[in-house]
């Protein structure tokens, strides 16, 4: 019988707690797993620097899931910030506005480079978008016609590439990185190899044209990795001749195990990504709910702290971790935009 009373008491207590939960004193962040390590560093340092605020809670889960949570509405039971490794889509912004999140502030924190790397025991590797396209596309042009990708070894594509069976570990389709990979590598390679022209001649529908250009072969030579970069690293360790796709920061933390490939002759580094010389990079963002500023304690301070040069400048801990700092003028305009409360 006592257990029944205990249950009842717990239920009553939990209902009573609901009222108390309405006021929240801790910032809640969710979203991209690429932005997560940066957001963690900022959240931790923020908690140490401002002892009067609690350390923000940063959830992982992906850009799409984070923005979905973000767009659920306004109030203490919804998150304050969504991290994103791509720009918010118009459709997502619309959902946001329908749910009452009318004022969304966009903050760009810097850039992330995407690198191709093999096991450290391999010789130097020089890639171009064209080589990668020919190695990984579902269909390539041969004698003016589209045929299923016949290449089995990298050396068949370009004699300067290693004489190894094609094995590439690329981000899965739900990854934010996949979009950059498609746009900056496959699409560019599609145009460079002349496949785009042939596709445009043979395929009518414009959407189908774009889709054909970025279609990846499904015969097991290009493997989608839905997990994180640590899974890609394990795949490379198992198959030494495999090529993996990593974030620049992940590569820099594991540079003793990996050999990075140049793309179009440029070595990926924070400098080459910042200058735009290295072609495969993307901006990283987070989105702030303006209605929560002034309601959730510390939210304004957190964003300002994040935007400070001591966090995202060229000499900052985020840059040391692998974030490519945005140019000075861009950082300055971001700070001004947030100060003036500019919304999307």
């Amino acid at each position: 019988m006592t257990s029944f009373k205990l249950t009842l008491a717990t239920l009553v207590a939990s209902v009573a707690f609901v009222g108390a939960a309405a006021a929240r004193d801790q910032i809640q962040v969710a979203g991209s797993s690429t932005v997560l390590p940066y957001a963690k560093i900022v959240a931790e340092t923020f908690g140490e620097t401002f002892p009067n605020f609690k350390t923000p809670v940063v959830e992982s889960g992906g850009t799409g899931a984070g923005l979905k949570e973000f767009c659920k509405g306004v109030g203490a039971d919804t998150i304050d910030i969504a991290n994103a490794s791509r720009k918010i889509k118009d459709s997502e912004l619309e959902t946001c506005k329908k749910a009452g999140v009318t004022e969304v502030e966009e903050v760009k924190i810097g850039y992330d480079g995407i690198v191709f790397a093999t096991d450290a025991s391999n010789p130097d590797l020089k890639l171009t978008p064209k080589d990668l396209y020919l190695g990984l596309a579902a269909e390539v042009v041969k004698d003016g016609k589209l045929v299923a990708n016949p290449y089995k070894k990298w050396s068949e594509i370009n004699p300067s590439l290693p004489d190894a069976t094609i094995a590439a570990y690329i981000p899965g389709e739900k990854h934010g990185t996949r979009e950059v990979f498609e746009e900056k590598v496959l699409h560019a390679g599609c145009a460079d190899s002349g496949a785009e022209k042939v596709i445009k001649e043979t395929v009518k529908d414009e959407k189908d044209q774009a889709r054909k250009c970025i279609a990846v072969r499904k015969d097991g030579m290009a493997v989608d990795i839905d997990g994180d970069y640590s899974e890609t690293l394990a795949r490379i360790a198992a198959n030494k001749s495999g090529i993996g796709v990593f974030g620049l920061s992940f590569y820099e933390n594991n540079a003793d195990k990996l050999k990075v490939a140049t793309v179009s002759g440029v070595v990926p580094s924070t400098e080459t990504v910042a200058s735009g010389k290295y072609p495969v990079s993307r901006p990283l963002f987070f989105y702030v709910k303006k209605a929560h500023i002034g309601v959730i304690p510390g939210l304004k301070e957190y964003v300002e702290f994040f935007l400070d040069d001591q966090m995202i400048g060229p000499d900052s801990p985020l840059a040391a971790y692998g974030l490519v700092a945005a140019p000075e003028s861009e950082r300055e305009s971001m700070r001004k935009a947030f100060e003036s409360g500019k919304t999307l």
Partner: protein, 439 residues
């Protein structure tokens, strides 16, 4: 005629051919079956051994942490140059503590203070968490200002990894996180006895951190503890009440059959489904806070209930009907029969089921993903309503980290989780041994 009799005699006299009862075949079949059994067990043991070997060989180093002991001079000129701490104690919170570490390193290693690259390399060897460590010392006892005290500071994660031999030092220096100069300094400090490996208490007490050396499972363990408490307090009474009613009172009809089928089905539903349910009911509808262990506990309660109900019903069924009949025959009411006789006898089975259910819930991550508990949480949750995370979640998050030092911590955390599970399952076995009755 004589032929027939003689052959009949012959047959009787010589060893008569036995009726073929396939004895040899049957023995062979039995031996084969035993061999299959042994193989099955060997395969299981082999994989268990591989799992334990990988986890332990990767993880045992996580229980040690490299510590650099430095004589820190708490200079007033750095901490409180204008001597305002009496009026404004907040000054002590914001002081430039990393400068103290820098000065101590310059003195200790004999670096030219103007050589910025070298100074940076040296300060990189000490964890950035030293800022809070020194701040806490000063805030707790402002009288240390002006004195010199030997303080054990955490070594930065990569230095820790290098000290444990986990970084390939033959790789090109440019591709390494630890530079040759730092290795030389490490040797220098080691010889003085200032660079030591100590038991890593922080692994058990710290919350999450982006710095591996300052990362621990404290918050996760507390979150898991809250959730287990909620599961125990809710799932045990609800599960036992439901099973007693279904087993002892409910009429046997199509409706109760339907309930039974549903309970058995629910036990097999993928746990992520419970996460979706929890998100819809507890967060979106009831408005409970995200990332809170209360919600996690409620979700895990729903997940564990079928297991507990099935185990409890089996335990109740195993109590011989003669006990019920005897109690009823002596004039006990139905409820007295159940609570005085049946339930105590079924208790070991119920407890075993509950502990196994709890152990299952302890290792669950999938349902926690959707309710926001797969998160980076630094502060200890003061109540189950504050954001927290769980042990398996912490393992998952560390497994995805880029830094080398998180590899061993991942395995270390797995070892801690395994230890909890072993203790719980041992408890289940002991309870069964202690209270089990045979009829």
């Amino acid at each position: 005629m004589s032929d027939v009799t003689s052959s009949a005699f012959q047959a009787r006299g010589a060893a008569r051919p036995r009726r073929d009862i396939g004895i040899r075949k049957r023995y062979a079949a039995e031996r084969r079956f035993r061999a299959y059994g042994v193989t099955a067990i060997l395969v299981g043991v082999f994989f268990l051994a591989v799992l334990l070997w990988t986890v332990i060989s990767n993880g045992y180093t996580a229980f040690q942490q490299t510590v650099i002991t430095l004589p820190i001079t708490f200079a007033e000129s750095v901490i409180d140059p204008k001597n305002e701490r009496a009026q404004n104690p907040a000054k002590l919170m914001a002081a430039n503590y990393p400068l103290l570490v820098r000065d101590a390193l310059i003195k200790e290693l004999g670096i030219d203070p103007n050589d910025r690259t070298k100074v940076k390399l040296a300060t990189d060897m000490v964890s950035a968490s030293s800022r809070t460590q020194l701040r806490d010392i000063v805030v707790a006892n402002p009288s240390v200002i002006g004195t010199t005290m030997s303080v054990a500071l955490l070594a930065e994660g990569n230095i820790d990894s290098a000290n444990k031999g986990q970084i390939d030092l033959t790789a090109d220096e440019a591709n390494r996180k630890v530079k040759n100069q730092q290795l030389a300094w490490m040797d220098q400090l080691r010889q003085k006895g200032d660079l030591t490996k100590e038991f890593n208490t922080g692994l058990f007490t710290y919350g999450a951190s982006s710095r591996p050396e300052a990362a621990g499972i404290g918050v996760a363990a507390l979150g898991s503890f809250y959730m287990m408490l909620i599961v125990l307090v809710l799932a045990l009474p609800i599960g036992v009440a439901a099973s007693i009613y279904l087993e002892e009172f409910a009429p046997k009809n199509k409706f109760t059959d339907l309930i039974e089928v549903n309970i058995n089905n629910l036990a097999a539903v993928p746990s992520i489904v419970y996460g979706l349910l929890g998100l819809a009911i507890f967060i979106n509808f009831a408005g409970l806070p995200r990332s809170a262990s209360l919600v996690g506990g409620l979700v895990l309660t729903l997940m564990t209930l079928p297991t507990i109900i099935i185990a409890t019903r089996a335990a109740l069924k195993a109590v011989p009907p003669s006990i019920r009949s005897a109690a009823l025959g002596l004039g006990a009411s139905k409820m007295q029969t159940i609570f005085h006789h049946v339930l105590p006898l079924a208790m070991p089975g119920i407890l075993t089921g509950t502990i196994i259910g709890l152990a299952h819930a302890l290792g669950e991550t999938a349902p926690l993903l959707l309710i926001g508990m797969v998160a980076f949480v630094v502060d200890y949750p003061g109540s189950p309503l504050e954001p927290s995370t769980a042990l398996p979640v912490q393992i998952y998050m560390w497994a995805n980290e880029a830094e080398r030092a998180f590899v061993e911590r991942t395995s270390g955390a797995i070892m801690v989780l395994l230890a909890f599970l072993i203790v719980m399952n041992l408890g289940a076995i002991l309870l069964r041994r202690r209270f089990e009755r045979r009829w």
